[in-house]
Amino acid sequence: MANRHDEQAPVEQRAAALEAAFEARGMKAADFIDEHTRRVDEEWLPRNGARVVAKAWTDPVFRQRLVANGRDTVAELGLTMPVHHRHLVVLENTEAVHNVIVCTQCSCTAYSIIGLPPDWYKDLEYRARVVRESRTVLKEMGLDLPADTEIRVWDTSADTRYMVLPQQPPRTRGWSEERLAEIVTKDSMIGVARL
């Protein structure tokens, strides 16, 4: 054995050990991992949220329903959320108000809609700072908001999930839903970028 028993095992070996423990209990971990990996790579992608945003930009009635009841309304597009995500709140950005989301205590996100959280969202820096230094942090990340724009930070402290509905760029008026969806990024639905 490469390591003495009192030395901490490398992280890859610990992960393999945990997987082996699941297998030893007959939990068929390897099969499930393949299935889960497919979902991660092919289903839980920001293009889901991008479709929602594009539809909200082009269909005011859909937008109204979306803001009133996010979870049921994204389901109209065939988009589902995990059972424990019981509520989806869609936050509309305007000229006057900019929304940004965080989870200070862990890293919760509406991952089946806006995609799994990027590395920086899960880092200690973002979690510690954005609630207290929102304007400074957004500026560091390349988003320099006008001084009179109100910033609203949403801390995902319960199993309600949030997504930001970015403003439609004026240059894209009249575009098709499909074309609009292509410009919507994960960052814009977290609220650290405008489009």
Partner: protein, 205 residues
């Protein structure tokens, strides 16, 4: 618990390592660990509140030095040992070295005895409570006053659900706090919205 995980408003952290094409995973084992958690939840072995609390119980230096998926793996492995799926000794043996786990859990608690329902516009204060077990109240709102914006559907009460304590599901309230109330003269101006469980709140007369 006032754990190392409760980072909102902590100072001294540097720039965010942001990139527009930021990755979710950085190594194959991370994706496998992420799947094991999903499997454990699907099989009813763990719930999300137990999982979050198991991460919060990590030794603080380990927590701060670990990547997101190492924290996730440590929390999940801790629960697997506590629930009898595997022993600590077996994990160490399979890993070929020490497999550090989280610390022990303090007891949980049921819902507050006298809960009050609130309506949008109500002024509320977050109770000045120090909870030894799991709690989803970020410390930066403890004792602070805000305004109710909306009410959510019912959720399992995390302080109980993380500990196998029987409790009623309860709503959370979207409470709007002003950053200047949370950190007087020490924050960028902003509204900070937090989803706060009904048990954590009291009405401000």
């Amino acid at each position: 618990m006032d754990g190392m995980h409760d980072l909102g408003g902590r100072q001294g952290f540097g720039r965010i390592r942001h990139a527009p094409d930021a990755q979710v995973f950085h190594a194959p084992w991370e994706k496998r660990v992420n799947a094991l958690l999903a499997l454990a939840v699907r099989e009813g072995l763990v719930n999300m509140d137990e999982y979050r609390h198991a991460i919060e119980r990590m030794e603080p230096r380990h927590y701060l030095g670990a990547s997101y998926y190492e924290r996730s793996m440590t929390g999940l492995a801790t629960l697997c040992v506590e629930k009898g799926l595997v022993t600590k000794g077996e994990l160490d043996r399979l890993a070929g070295g020490r497999f550090p786990l989280s610390g022990e859990s303090a007891p949980g608690r049921p819902n507050a005895a006298r809960r009050q329902a609130f309506a949008p516009g109500d002024r509320v204060r977050v109770k000045n409570e120090f909870v030894p077990g799991h709690v989803r109240m970020p410390a930066y709102i403890r004792g602070k006053t805000g305004v109710v914006v909306s009410r959510t559907p019912l959720y399992p009460f995390p302080d109980a659900h993380a500990h196998g304590v029987t409790a009623e599901d309860e709503p959370t309230y979207d409470v709007r706090f002003e950053s200047q109330d949370l950190w007087p003269n020490g924050a960028d101006a902003a509204a900070v919205h937090v989803g706060v469980f009904e048990s954590y709140l009291e009405r401000v007369p």
